[in-house]
Amino acid sequence: MKDVNIIPLFVIIPLLTAFLIALLGKTIKNFSEKIIVASSSLLLAFSLYSQILLRHTPLKTLVYNVGGWLPPFGISMVLDGLSSFMLIVVNLIAFFVAVYSLSYMEKYTDKPKFFTLFALMVSGLNGVIVTGDIFNLFVFLEIASIASYALVAFGTQAEELEASFKYTIMGTVASSFIFLGIVFLYGFASTLNMAHMASVLNSKLSIWLLPFVSVLFLAGFSLKAAMVPFHGWLPDAHSSAPASISAMLSGVLIKTLGIYAMMRIFFNVLGITQAQLSILMFLGSLSIITGAILAFSQWDFKRLLAYSTISQVGYIVLGLGLGTPLGIFGALFHLFNHSVFKSLLFLNSGAVDYAASTRDLRETGGLNKVMPVTTKTNFIASMSISGIPPFSGFFSKLIIIFACIQKGHIGYGLCAVIGSILTLIYFMKLQKFVFLGELKDKFKQIAEVPYLMRFSMICLAAICILAGFLLLPALRPFLDRASDVLLGGTNYAAAVMGAALR
C-alpha cells in the first residue's frame, strides 16, 4: 500500500462503521458493540502509524488527491504534523469513550443508534482534520455538528431537548458565519483548495476583504469553541448529554471544530496578523477568568466541569494568541492534556451518575469508600487540571505562563496564574463534596462501576500521569512537528503543492 492511501481511511472507516451499524445493528446481536470497538481501535492504530510515516517523509507533508485530480482542481487530503497530532488526540479519546459507552449506554434504550451517531461524529472530526479543501472542511464540520446535536438530545428528556435546541441554534448560526466567510474567500480567490488559496491571497492584495472575512471566521469559530462572549450554549449542552458524549464534546469536538479549524485557517490560509493575535489573547484570558469564576458557584457535577472547559480552552487560545514558538508549543501541549483529563473527568461524572444516580454535589459525599477506582482517577485528573506537579497539566500551564512572560505580557501571565489557582479551588470543592466526607446511608449499597468503564478511566489516568514525558527529547517531535506547521504560516501552501505534485 502506498503511504498516502492511509489518509482517506480516516474518513472511510468510521463512515462505513456508521453505515453497517445502521443497517445490521438491530438484526445481529452485539454487532454494534463489536464493530465500534474494532473500528475505533483500527483508527487509533492508523493515527499512531501516521506519526511514523511523517518521520520518514522529507517535506513532513503527505497529500492524497481524491480521484487523482491534482490541486488546485481536485479535492486534496493533507496529512502534516498538525493533522497527525489532532488525529491522535481525537482517535485516542474516541477509542476510550467507545469502550466506556459499551457499559454506560446500557441504561439508554437504543445502543445501535447511539453508535451510529458516534461513528458519524468521529468521521466528521477526522474529516475536518485531514481535509485540504475549505468547502470540504465546512461539510465535515456540519457532519460532526449534526451528529453532536442529535447526541445531546439522545435521552429525549425535557432538559436534554432544551439544551440540544439551544446548541443547534447557536451551532447553526456559527456554521452560517463560517460558510459566509468561505463564500467571500471563494469569490475573491476563485479557488477552494486551502493551499492554493493561501498563495492566491499572498499575491493578490486587498485592503477590506481579509479583515472582514477574519471577523466572520472569528465569530463562527469562537462560537464553536465557546470562548467567553459566545459561551452560552456550552454548559447546557455539555451537562445534559450522556456522559460519554460530554467527554467527546468537551474533549475533542470543540477543539477540532473550533480551535483546530481556526488555527488552520488563520495561521495557514489567511496568514495571521498582530491584531488577530491580540484579539485571541484577550478572548483567551477573558475565558480563563470568567469560566473559572462561573464554575465556582455550580452545584451540578457536569455543569462545573463544563464551565471548567471554557476556562481551560482559554489557556489554549491564550497560548496560540502569543504567536511565539513557546506559546504555540504550550497551547498544543495543553490541548492534548486537556482533552485527556477533561474526558476523564466527564467519564468520572458518568460513573458517579451510573452508580449513585445523582449529579448534585449537595447530595453526594463519601463515595471514596464505595468507588475507589473512580475516586483515584478523579483525584489524578483534578490534580492534573489544576496544574500540580508532576501531572501533565502542570507542564503545559507552566509553558504557557513562561511564554507570556517571555513575550512581555505580564498581565496575561497573571491571568493564567489566577485562573490556575481558581481551578484548584473549585476542584477541591468537587473532591470534598463528592468523594470525601460522610458516606450517606442511601449510598451504602452502591458498587464500583463495571470493568469496561474502569478500564477506560484507568487508562486515561495513566496517560495523565505519563503525558509529561512528551517533553523528553525522544518524544518531543510529536508536538514540535505540529507547532512547526503553525509557525510556518503560509509556507503551508508550498509544502502542500510540493507534496501533491511529487
Binding site: 468547502f135 461539510v139 456540519e142 449534526i146 446535536y149 442529535a150 438530545a153 429525549t156 428528556q157 425535557a158 432538559e159 431537548l161 432544551e162 439544551a163 440540544s164 435546541f165 443547534t168 441554534i169 447553526t172 448560526v173 452560517s176 460558510f179 459566509l180 463564500v183 471563494y186 469569490g187 477552494l192 454548559p235 447546557d236 451537562s239 445534559s240 458557584s297 455550580q298 452545584w299 451540578d300 455543569r303
Partner: protein, 112 residues
Amino acid sequence: MSLYILCMILFCIGIYGVLRKRNLVKIIIGLAIMGYSINLFLVLLGYRFHGRAAIEAETQDILSMVDPLPQAMALTSIVISLGILALVISIAIRIYEKYGTFDITKIKRLKG
C-alpha cells in the same frame, strides 16, 4: 452590487429572527432565511451576464459561461440545511410535547 447588498440584508433579517423572536418556530424560520441568503449570494457570485451553462457544445462558440462550482456548493449547502432543519423541527416538536409551549421565555429549566 445592489443584489449583493440585498442578500446581506436578507442575512441580517435571518439573524434578527434568531435573536429577537420568542417563538421556537419563528427562530427556526430565521435560521432558514440565513441559509437561503447565503445560498443566493453564492449563486449570484457565480453568475455572469448573458452567460450560459458550462456545457461544451460542438456547433457553437461559448463566449461567456456561468461559474458552475458555486451551483454545486449551493446544492450541498441546501442538503445540509435540510438535515439541520429536519432535526431542529423534530426537537421543537418534542419540546412542545414536554413543555406544552413554543415560547422560549417559558422553556427555562436549565440555568446557572
